[in-house]
């Protein structure tokens, strides 16, 4: 048990007075579930209560003991709408069957860090969300002590029932909720010992599961309000172009069309030009999606060149020039790498590359906006509601307090919905059209107006001495709007002579974070390179890495090493044992990799067999150390999805540019992994160490790219350096 000062997160406990005027009705809005009967379907144990009593910003309790938990963070498929409420319910000490979850709207006064990004929701919420549950539990206990006229420390709770130790008196949470909601917030509360957890550690199913499989309205694209019109945009067809003139004479007269508007988004492009590429877009507004689509095609727009019109080939040449540069400032240097390379008996040098990638959330960008002169009311899928509300306020010249954002469930994020230019566009279109609108991007708009994962190159060199030891390691990376190198990550700290360099090329193509930024490329390159070094030295790739971790643990080089060597080695040892690595099977070609990012450690083994004359992935094994696993079922799902995403993008996906024009605009030319390419089987194991939990949305993706490359080498005898690997015809099934 640990005692937590509640002022740790005081802002989260702004007390709202109890629902004296009849309470809040569940199911009153779209975001609470659209239809009361749909919400009621979720409730297995109790009827809807007549009144809800607000305990704090995260939870309200009905007079019959039903609990509504507000999940603060955006749900993009990382399952926080289930796992974050689990933390609250655990400390509240209720039966999970009595819990209904609602998505909280954006409210910076009530909640902290309402962001879906960096795999940080559970890590940041671990103490504050449990404190919210424990605080409410304490208030319920104090209310029960008053009602039962017994000392509070003689009371205990279990599954929403408070009982008195020395008598048979019991009272339910529902019966004391009204009184409890008026009690002073305690200054400190006690949190459970992890060994007493009843909900944390259980495989709790997705709280929206029933609505998802029955097609209920959940997503931004499903949102509808009376009087709402549909809006679509045309953006410049190339990066480096801008609007010259619009002839909307035909479009304006078409059936169902309300108007065509030029939308000035320069407040975005001027402030963050590397992310927001376009200063103007053209919007069509009308009654229905199909009518707007037809009018969009009938627009006659002239675009003009405003900047360089770039090609992928020139991006590549530019990066080669940077890599050839001999005078790069080191980001980190240990020992004397140049001497070690001079003294080496063997040097291995390899270059790895990867293209730009689009995020391609299956639900394209969209947002609802209803803007008047007084306020902006916004609803939709966004990973960063706080940032978006500020940008909207700027663009409208409105006080940010008058901008409200509610989040729907989000049909994927992967970083794309961090960048809410589409929220700003929706607000400006609503203002121009003087109507509530829902902005919808077509797939083509979405893919060709990206905030892409940058193209990268990295050169690795390793020096091997006459005793067959790796004495020096040199990594030199380059990327668009920032290079891919994390200079303090492994093998920094494990090699005597170490040099890390990182450079950046400029581009007019907009770039941003894409699931596991930088790691989504560098992990695969580094782990494939280490595989080659191990082979050159004549060591098993796991043994080779474990020896490096031993060195990093016993005698680390430098002080800024950004990993725990013991936990890193731990996942490798676990994957070795679980996959039966030491008993190689004939006909199964295996590759291994391990990586640390977003505070979690993942090691993976990819097994490839030959099927119909081509390599096919039979199985992927993962060993994961993310500390305490909050929801084992959801956690496994994240690792499975992450590794399929990693395999898919390493194998199949690429975005290229010609004269600034994105060459892939839909799924007929942009390849995503499909059922037939997916691993036939996945097995995932978690380290059980009781350490406070860290995130899982991203860490499952990066290492698998390396494990895949290493397994492909075993299967084909060929090393693959350039993503997507399937550009090599022999790999296509």
């Amino acid at each position: 048990m640990s005692t937590i000062k509640t002022h740790y997160n005081r802002r989260s406990f702004l007390k709202i007075s109890a629902a004296s005027g009849g309470g809040m009705l569940l199911g009153f809005s779209f975001l609470a579930g659209c239809k009361a009967d749909v919400v009621a379907e979720q409730i297995k144990t109790k009827a809807l209560p007549k009144n809800w009593f607000d305990m704090n910003a995260f939870l309200k309790i009905g007079e019959n003991g039903l609990v509504t938990i507000l999940s603060p963070n955006p749900e993009i498929g990382q399952n926080v709408k289930t796992s974050m409420p689990m933390l609250i319910a655990e400390e509240l000490d209720v039966n999970w069957e009595d819990v209904v979850v609602e998505q909280a709207g954006f409210d910076k006064n009530k909640y902290e860090r309402q962001v879906a990004g960096g795999s940080q929701s559970i890590r940041h919420g671990w103490t504050s969300l449990r404190t919210a549950g424990a605080t409410a539990r304490r208030m319920l206990l104090e209310a029960a002590a008053q009602k039962l006229e017994v000392p509070v420390d003689e009371l205990r709770t279990e599954n929403g029932i408070i009982s008195h130790k020395n008598s048979d008196k019991t009272i339910s949470y529902g019966e004391v909720a009204s009184v409890a909601s008026q009690i002073e917030i305690p200054e400190e509360v006690q949190l459970k010992d992890p060994k007493d957890f009843k909900i944390i550690g259980q495989g709790i199913k997705n709280v929206d599961g029933q609505k998802i499989v029955t097609g209920q309205p959940l997503f931004g694209l499903d949102y509808k309000r009376d009087g709402m019109l549909i809006a679509m945009i045309e953006h410049p067809p190339a990066f480096g172009m801008k609007l010259k003139s619009v002839d909307d004479s035909k479009a304006k007269t078409m059936s169902g069309i309300k108007g065509v508007y030029t939308i000035d988004t320069s407040s975005l492009s001027e402030q963050r030009p590397t992310i927001f590429a376009f200063s103007e877009v053209v919007a069509v507004v009308g009654n229905s999606t199909w009518e707007v689509l037809q009018a969009k095609k009938a627009l006659n727009i002239e675009w003009e060149k405003a900047n360089t019109l770039e090609d992928s080939a020139t991006h590549s040449q530019e990066m080669d020039k940077f890599l050839a540069n001999k005078n790069i400032e080191a980001k980190r240097k240990d020992g004397n790498p140049s001497k070690a390379f001079k003294d080496a008996s063997k040097i291995i040098e390899r270059v790895y590359t990867a293209p730009f990638l689009a995020h391609n959330t299956l639900e394209p960008m969209n947002f609802f906006a209803d803007v008047s002169s007084e306020k902006a009311d916004l609803v939709g899928p966004i990973q960063t509601p706080q940032w978006a509300s500020g940008m909207v306020a700027d663009a409208l010249g409105m006080d940010v307090e008058n901008v409200s954002i509610d989040m729907t469930r989000q049909g994927g994020g992967f970083g794309r919905r961090l960048y809410g230019h589409f929220v700003v566009e929706a607000a400006l279109i609503s203002k121009a059209a003087q109507s509530p609108i829902k902005l919808i991007y077509t797939r083509e708009d979405d893919m060709s107006y990206g905030v892409y994962r940058p193209a990268y190159k990295v050169k690795y060199r390793a020096a091997i001495n006459d005793k067959n030891e790796m004495t020096a390691f040199h990594v030199s990376g380059v990327g668009a709007h920032g290079g891919p190198v994390w200079e303090n990550r492994f093998p920094a700290g494990a090699v005597e002579h170490y040099l890390a360099e990182d450079q950046s090329i400029e581009t007019v193509v907009s770039t941003g974070a894409w699931r596991a930024p930088k790691s989504n490329f560098i992990a695969g390159a580094e782990q494939a390179f280490l595989d080659e070094v191990a082979e050159a030295i004549g060591k098993d790739p796991i043994d080779f890495r474990l020896e490096l971790f031993e060195k990093a643990k016993a005698n680390p080089v430098g002080e800024e090493n950004d990993y725990d060597a013991e936990r890193y080695a731990g996942v490798l040892k676990m994957v070795r044992e679980k996959s039966g690595w030491d008993n190689q099977k004939s006909g199964v070609h295996r590759g291994v990799a391990a990586y640390y990012c977003h505070n979690s450690y993942v090691a993976q083994v990819v097994d490839i067999i030959e099927k119909n004359g081509k390599p096919a992935i039979q199985k992927v094994w993962s060993a994961v150390d993310c500390g305490i696993v909050v929801n084992p079922e959801g956690a496994k799902n994240q690792i499975e999805g992450g590794l399929i995403d990693g395999i898919g993008h390493a194998m199949y996906s690429a975005m290229s540019f010609k004269d600034g024009v994105p060459q892939q605009k839909n799924f007929n030319t942009y390849n995503l992994i499909r059922h037939m390419d997916a691993p036939m089987e996945i097995e995932t194991h978690f380290v059980d160490n009781g350490i406070d939990p860290t995130g899982l949305g991203e860490p499952g993706l990066p290492p698998v790219m390396g494990a895949l490359a290493n397994a492909l080498y075993k299967a084909t005898g060929k090393r693959f350096y350039d993503q997507p690997f399937a550009q090599n015809k022999e790999l296509l099934g």
Binding site: E41, G77, Q78, G203, K205, N206, D208, G209, Q210, I212, V213, T214, G215, Q216, L218, F219, L221, D222, K224, I230, S255, T289, W290, E291, N360, T361, L362, E363, P364, R409, G411, G412, G413, F414, T442, R443, E633, G634, N637, Q638, E640, G641, G642, L643, I644, D645, G648, N666, F667, N668, L672, I673, R674, H675, M676, A678, P679, M680, E681, I682
Partner: protein, 152 residues
Amino acid sequence: MAEFTINLNGKSTKVDVAPNTPLLWVLRDHLDLVGTKYGCGIAQCGACTVHIDDIAMRACTLPISQISEQKITTIEGLSENGTHPVQKAWLEHDVAQCGYCQTGQIMTAAAFLKDNANPSDDEIARAMNGNICRCGTYTRIKAAVKTAAKNQ
């Protein structure tokens, strides 16, 4: 605009739309049935899968004027309260991550299992290959289809 009478989820339903309007937008914009999703608009991703006389079809490229008497089933009409064996299997395997593609996946799987009650892993992968899951829930989808096959 023209008036069409369609046989939708067991009910005769009237809509007044342009004849070339794809069924997807008729469902979503005019009938408030939003379980059928927009993903690509060119029949590449499968998010908009519906049944036309029990055959899985892409609603995004199917003009309303091409449908006459055929029986249209959407995810909302697949079962009462999500009790179809495929929907139940999806819940049992906790398949969804973001969930956006899953109604399309379920519709493809339900039509497939009508034709092939006891499919092999390869047959499942082939049948489901037209449905993209960007979150990568493919192994869970396969497991759910097998469970549904067993339970139907």
